[in-house]
Symmetry: C2
């Protein structure tokens, strides 16, 4: 599949509703369950996605589009959300994520990016040179990866309840060692 800006925006638009359909008013055990120490709960994932809206994807696109001499990205803090959201409800985070995402997509649309602009590059702190096209594709994949994570982490909360079904339900044994 080739990169397509409209399809990428369309997919990014879907994520808040997909998360809300799974998580709005769900039980605490599902919202706060994890896959083990130092892994994200669904609550953490929504916070992490908010961090992405505020500090990662669009800020990095701006750095690229500014066409400076040294378009180096700020390092990204994967745990910013922990302190930020300590007293927040999941419902308020879902609403905030939807709001931030809609505004960022509106901004992205307003840029009317050309193919030449999508070819511009920035410098990732550890990955090196990445193009704006790759950044936007990574934003889409990052969303989908965290959606898969939310479903997987929720599934695992019921691992002890399915009895002999475990080998037929591979989601229960995916990421037995944390991968993200």
């Amino acid at each position: 599949m080739q990169f397509n800006l409209n399809l990428s925006s369309d997919m990014l638009r879907r994520t808040p509703a997909a998360l809300a359909s799974l998580l709005e008013s769900t039980a605490e055990a599902w919202a706060r369950g994890t896959e083990g120490p130092e892994t994200f709960s669904p609550f953490d994932v929504v916070g992490h996605l908010i961090d992405g809206e505020e500090t990662d994807w669009i800020p990095r696109a701006r750095i690229i589009l500014a066409r400076g001499k040294e378009p180096r990205f700020e390092p990204y803090d994967r745990f910013r959300h922990r302190a930020r959201n300590a007293d927040r409800s999941l419902s308020s985070l879902l609403a905030e994520f939807a709001r931030l995402r809609a505004a960022n997509l509106e901004l992205l649309r307003s840029w009317r990016l050309t193919g030449a602009e999508l070819d511009l590059a920035g410098i990732h702190p550890s990955l090196g040179r990445v193009t704006l096209r790759q950044l936007l594709a990574a934003w889409v994949v990052h969303d989908l990866g965290h959606l898969a994570q939310v479903a997987r982490v929720m599934a695992k909360q019921y691992r002890e309840q399915v009895g002999p079904w475990v080998p037929y339900l591979p989601v229960l044994t995916d990421h037995d060692v944390p991968r993200s």
Copy 2:
């Protein structure tokens, strides 16, 4: 997390909306992409979930609740959907799944299952004795596993587009060998 009938029903109720938010009117490349030969596309997953509504979870619950001498489940055909849905649109499958699921949850609710009924067992063709409680928990986990699969399979369609980001996006290398 303990098994909870109301929470299980609540989660099962969410799946059609979660799938629709990701898949309604999405591009063919995302709807029909797979992880390789003999793996499911998102289109296939919706068909497989419809098969589950028609031939798996509720029919098996009925066999258990009938309290017969030999409550043996029919084997489940994982590929029934292929011929069944050859000429269908994804949109019509999403609507059909939502309709079937709502009817099955209404039926489940109407049974007003007691703890003693949830302890009743049936005989799975390969797993042996399983309780109604385990069957209902497996239904929930099966949904979440296939939701995770849909997100993962969609993510993988963009694998070539993210450039050097692959190692930071583990969803792209999950299930490199098919697990389901």
